[in-house]
Each structure stands twice: as C-alpha cells, then as structure tokens.
Symmetry: C2
Subunit: 442 residues, 2 copies
C-alpha cells in the first residue's frame, strides 16, 4: 500500500484547521444559533479525489475505472484504507457494496447512510461518483478528527456498478433480476463474476436486500452533470428529486416514392412529417411551464437512399420530469401535435411506449436541511431536479433521501473533460457534513 499523503497532509495541518473551526463555533454560539460542526478540510478532500486517479486515470484528465475491473478493485482497497483511518469498520455486503460503519450514541436509532459510487464509464471523467465518494470519506474523517459523536449510526456506502445499471443500490432494494447476472459488463466480467470479484456472493444476492424503513435517511453528493449551476453562477444544487423517464418508439408512415418523378405537391414524405414531429416535441417541452425535457435521440428514414422519398421514419421520443403526471402532460401535448401533423401531411404516426423509470422525489424535509446547510455556510443555492439517475433513486425505496449537487464545467460528463473545481468539491463536502449533522440532531 502506497503512503497516503492526503491523510498526512491533514495531520500536518490539522491543528491550524481546528483553531479556525473553534473560532467559527464560538461565533455561532455568540449569535445564539446552535453550534455548527467544523468545516471539512478542503485540501484533503481534493487530495483524496486526486488520489482516485491512480486507479484508472487515463492521463488526459479522465478516468476509466470500470466496475469489477482491476482498477475498481484497487480503488476499493484504497477507499478501505481511507475509511479505516476515519475509524469506520469496513466490510463488503453480499451484493459487493463497500460499506464503512460507525456506531451511534442512541442504540434505538436507525442508520443514516451517505455515499456514492467510484466506478466510471469507459473513457469517463474523474468526478462522476468520485466527488460524492471522496466527500463521504472526508465527512467521516472530519467527524473523527473532532471526535464528533452522532446519535445515529453512520454508514458510508460505495455502491458497486452504478454506471452499468446501479447494480449495488438496486440489490439493496431487491431489484436485481436473475437474467442480469449474465450480462457481460464493459470490464468483460459478467455481473455474477463481478460481484464475486468484489467479495460479494452472487448466489446469495437476494439476502443483500434491506427492508423499507430500515434507515433514517440517505444523503448523496454528486456532480450536476448539467450546466444549470454553472450557467446561474450557483454553488449548490438542492436536488428536488430524480426525474421519471418514459420512452416511446415513434413510427411515421407516409408514401415511399421516386425522388425524381414525384412532384412536391403529390408527396407524402414521412421524413418531412417526422421533422414536424421533432420540432413539435421540442417546442411543447420548451414552452410548457416546468422543467420537463423531451428528446428525439434516434431517427432513421426508410429506405434511406438519397433518391427515394422516405416512406417511413422510425425514431425515439423520451420525456423526463420530476413528476410522472408532468410526463403525461407533455406527452399529451406532443401527441395532440402528432394528430395535427397526420392531417397536414397525410401520414400515420404511432407512439409506442417501451421504457419507464419512475420519478424519485427527495424528501421535502431533507431539501430544507440541505438548503439551510448551504445558506448557513454562505453558499448560493438553488432547487433543481436531477435529470440523470443516481443510487439515491434506489435508496428512496428504503426511506427519505436527499441529494446535493455541485457544478460541472459546461455540463460535460462521461468524458475526460468532466470537471468540478476544488472549491466546489469542498463546498459540496461541507454541505454534506452540515446536512448530516442537522439530520442527526432532528
């Protein structure tokens, strides 16, 4: 095991930080507010984050740390060491999730869980999942530094294979299906073998399931993966929930014709009608009040020759919103426009749903706690949906969840260009710590 320089850094600078924090606590006392926890160590959390790059860093700022790969195993070994230094008792559950535990002072209190994931997509960035994991470690280290006891037990969980389908967090809610175990992941390992590689037991995966109501709450810090915070110059996103998703196959049927011999007025061009549809979907989602999104991401004209008027177009439509009823509202608007296009262009349009992922709102009390934590630290903040899926979506089945977003440069994610500034990482970790302490004290 390589020497752990971030921890050493901390030991060196620990005292100075402690003095600063004590001063801050004194101010809080003097103004009559309840005492606030110390702030995290900004240089340490960023050093931990930088250290993650030793395991799959690609030299261009990015990281390829595929779930179940050797890099994943090495990264988890490193994480185990960090968690142990924070005084956590580290184990791997039957699903292969890496878990660090810290007891609480109240034997009857349910655990509070914090955490994220450390695996990446192929050719991915060095922040997605990793910022939330590093921040969770930093929170545990800060609690240990200051001997802060929590009433609730604390669990830090590094969920396995988030990028390949949230396998770890879904196992905790009993939603990994038998057929999935045979799926060969990007690492080359089927999920079954991958779970075994991590120290889990694929044959006993069902036993990894936890009961709804078995936790006091779950808090996840994550990079935004969008451009909203950066565009608004905002430091903290108070996540209102993870959006629901519905996807449809769109088929537009017109009349296939010779592109040379069919005059414009006699055409029933399926692609021209599909173009109307693409614009209509965009317009409906853009002009309705709300933050819903609608996307046509795939399109094919049939037969697809430069000299043939397309007789059919196949495309996809995806709508996301924080409320499933919001998705319904957008879909109704788009479907109405499709009926108009059918009449105008003499085509037939069918919309067949093929995918659904239910929305997972965060707990309103958790939103307030995160918001108050950000405000208390003097950070600018805004409420926003999460357009992407996260482990918190699974965890919402076990109890109340909250999520904290930090800015992503230019909204870029799943790319070596993914970037979150060190000061934003530190702010996120501070909000996570303060929210945890607030939640514990409720």
């Amino acid at each position: 095991m390589l020497p752990d320089s971030p921890i050493e850094d901390h030991r060196r600078f620990g005292r100075r930080d402690f003095l600063k924090r004590s001063a801050a606590a004194a101010v809080a006392f003097s103004t009559g507010f309840p005492p606030q926890p110390p702030t995290i160590d900004a240089s340490r959390v960023n050093a931990i984050l930088a250290r993650f790059r030793r395991f799959g860093g690609t030299g261009d700022g990015g990281t390829t740390r595929l779930a179940y790969s050797d890099e994943d195993l090495a990264g988890r070994d490193y994480a185990t060491g960090v968690m142990r230094r924070a005084g956590l008792e580290v184990s791997t559950d039957l699903a292969g999730n890496l878990i660090g535990r810290r007891p609480g002072t109240d034997p009857a209190a349910l655990p509070i869980i914090i955490g994220s994931h450390m695996d990446s997509v192929p050719g991915g960035g060095s922040y997605d999942g990793q910022v939330g994991s590093a921040a969770a470690f930093e929170v545990a280290l800060t609690l240990a530094d200051h001997d802060i006891a929590l009433r609730h037990p604390l669990e830090v969980i590094i969920f396995q294979n988030e990028e390949g389908g949230k396998t770890g967090s879904r196992a905790l809610v009993g939603r990994v299906y038998a057929f999935e175990l045979d799926i060969v992941t990007a690492s080359g390992h089927p999920i079954r073998d991958g779970i075994a590689r991590l120290g889990g037991d694929p044959a006993r995966l069902a036993e990894a399931r936890r009961e709804p109501g078995s936790m006091a709450g779950f808090l996840e810090l994550h990079i935004e993966q969008g451009a909203l915070l950066e565009a608004g110059g905002t430091q903290i996103g108070v996540v209102e929930g993870i959006v629901g998703i519905r996807r449809w196959n769109v088929t537009v049927r017109g009349a296939q014709n010779h592109a040379g011999t069919t005059p414009m007025p006699l055409r029933r061009d399926a692609l021209v009608a599909a173009a109307d549809f693409v614009r209509a979907a965009n317009e409906v989602a853009t002009t309705m009040p709300g933050r819903q999104v609608a996307t046509v991401g795939r399109i094919e004209a049939i037969p697809g020759a430069p000299n043939v008027v397309p007789g059919e177009v196949r495309a996809t439509l995806e709508i996301r919103d924080l409320e499933m009823t919001g998705i319904d509202r957008v879909f109704t608007g788009i479907a109405a426009r499709a009926r108009t296009i059918e009449a105008d262009r003499e085509v037939a349009i069918t919309l067949a749903q093929f995918y659904e992922s239910l929305a997972a709102p965060t707990d309103p009390r958790f939103r307030n706690i995160v918001e108050a934590a950000a405000a208390g630290l003097g950070y600018s903040h805004t409420r926003m949906p999460s357009g992407a899926g996260h482990d918190a979506q699974s965890m919402a089945e076990l109890g109340p969840v909250g999520m904290i977003f930090v800015p992503s440069r230019a909204g870029i994610s799943h790319s070596p260009d993914e970037y979150t500034a060190p000061e934003d990482v530190a702010r996120g970790a501070n909000v996570l710590l303060r929210s945890l302490v607030a939640l514990d004290g409720r």
Copy 2:
C-alpha cells in the same frame, strides 16, 4: 424458338386493320391535312409486351430480367426475331446494344433512332423500358405492314444495361470508363463479361462511340414512373427533358448532451436543427415557381441513443430540375435557410456536393412534333419533365432527342405492381409512329 403468336395474331387480323387505316387516311386527305400514317396494331403491341414476360417474368406481374442474365439473352433473341419480321437488319454493336436497321430513300439523310431498353431491376416491373421497346418494334412492324418508306434510315436500338447505369447508351457517347468494366452487376456478371455475353467486344468498347451530329434525332417512349399523368387523367406526356441532379451530404453540428441533465433552453440539439432543415428544403422546393424537387432521403442522428441529445446529424439533400440553373436557384434558397437555422439554433451546417448528373432538355421542335402527334390522334397531353434518367439523356449528346411518356398506375415503378394499361401502351406507340413520320418529313 417458340412460335411467335403476336405476329400470327397480326397476320390473322392484318387485313381488317388495313381497311380501318385506309379509311382514316382518306379522312385526313379529305380535310386537306397531309396524309397521316396508319395507326399501330394495339393488340399486337400488347401481345409483344406480354411475350416479354416469358423471359424473366416472376408470376406476380413483375419481371426480373437483369442485364447480361440468361433471361436478358433469351429476350434479345426474341427481339431479334421480331425485328427481322419487321424487315430490319439486326446486329449487335461493339457495346452489346441490339440494333435493327432499315434503309432510307435519301442516301444523304442521317438515321433517325428509336428504342429503349429491355433489362429490369431485380424484382422489377414488366413495363419500365419494355413498353418503349415493344412500341419501337410495333412501329417498325407497322411501317413494314404498309410498305411505308422513310426518307431517313431508321435504327431501332435496344440499349444494354440501362438499369445498371445506362452502359449501352453511354458507350455510344464514349462515357463508359475503364473502371466500370469491373463492376459486378446484379446478374453476377462484371460489365466486361456481360458485354461479351451480349456479342459486344469490351476490348473495343471505345470504337462503339458515335460522333455528335451523326443522327437526325432520337425518340424514346417510356412509362412515366410518376403519378402526374394518372393524377391529371392525361394520356400522353410530352417530355421537356430529363432533369439534372445534384446531391449533397448535409452535416449539422450542435452539442451532444445528456438528455436528462440538459434543460431545453441550454440545448444545441443537432436533430432539432436538422428538422428545421428538412422542412426548409421541402418548403423552398414546394413554394418556388417551377417543377423542381428537393428530397432529404437519408438521415442519421449521432450518437443515436434515445437518452442523448444528438450532437451531430448526417443527411443527404438531392435537388432535381430541368435546368441546372434551376437547381442552383433552389440550392441558394435552401442554403440561405440553413444560415438562418445556424443562427437560430446555434449549430453549424455544411453542405458538400458529392454527385451531379447534367440536365438533358429535349429538342423544342421534337416537343412540338410529339405534341402535334398526340393532338392529331385526339389524345389528351401535357408537357412535363422526366424526373428519372433515361437512355435519351446520353443520346442527347449525339443530336436532338424527344421523349413520350405514357401513364404509370399510382406512379409505382421498379416493383411488380408497376402497370400501364394496354390502351395507354397503344396510344404511346401511335404517338411514336406519328412523331417518327413527321420527323422524317420535316
């Protein structure tokens, strides 16, 4: 060789037809107009057409008679027999075109050429090319029946491999390139071997070239392959020319983004911009005066996933018009709209031309002759462009050309459902005969 029943039919009914025709000629005389040729034998020309189906007929109304295939060779043997019965001297030129010749009375006169092709696409119809070939034979038979001498020599040409790229007619104007000889055609035979199979000499292909100015004119009858004549209830199309074609690769570059995390106002969706482009191209071509057409026949969104905002779209644009300047005009209009879309949607659109086929206008005097022939026969007629390519396009390099269209049911072509009614075939053959005689008498 199978017995040739259409010819036998003709012999049986020949006398009755002759009497009818003589009566018609007498009427023409009595009204002071110059004498008109007799009309063709409607049942005979349709029987010849039906006979073609013995060579590659697919039993579903369609025909697969691929150039250079055994069916093609058998069909040409049959055609040779019909032309000989019409008194033509039959030979195969160095390019493998099948040619029937009839001398003229004026030794100094250049030949008038009529004809079309007999090859089909795979799974093709029984009318494309075949109606024009049958009609050319019928014209020669009618001239022979009535011992009508023409001042000009007459050539009936069955051009080889029209469907595979107009090889036969392009060889006559020296436009078959060396590399083409190695192209393996749908029959499985490379063009080189195919030419040899037909009795041509691929090594001496260049000698098949004829000189510009070496013919008095070329007349081709063809099915419309569009729906314009049928839609207008019109019997004869007076072709104004074969449209020119230009094709472009269209690339729209926006910003690829996560479809969940990118709010609608922050998107630079390449597919939404491409949808604008598809509609703009359609609108410009539809609203400009003229009969130009513009088609986007192929489209692909990249990366093409339902949950990714497309960062790039690749498509094709094709514009056809009777005048190349008309194509330029439409393109300029569409390109201007592309500039507007670029600004509106914050994307970059490039248009890169990759194909050009020059327009071949028919000779204005030939249009008048064809029109007068149709009018003299009491057939409804209209002037129209040919949206498809034809052998006449090559022949226009040798001298003036004219084309006659007959209706196609529902505009369907290159399909077993291709159909032209027997009375339309007969009308076309009559217009071809009368136009030929008028041209000869000029």
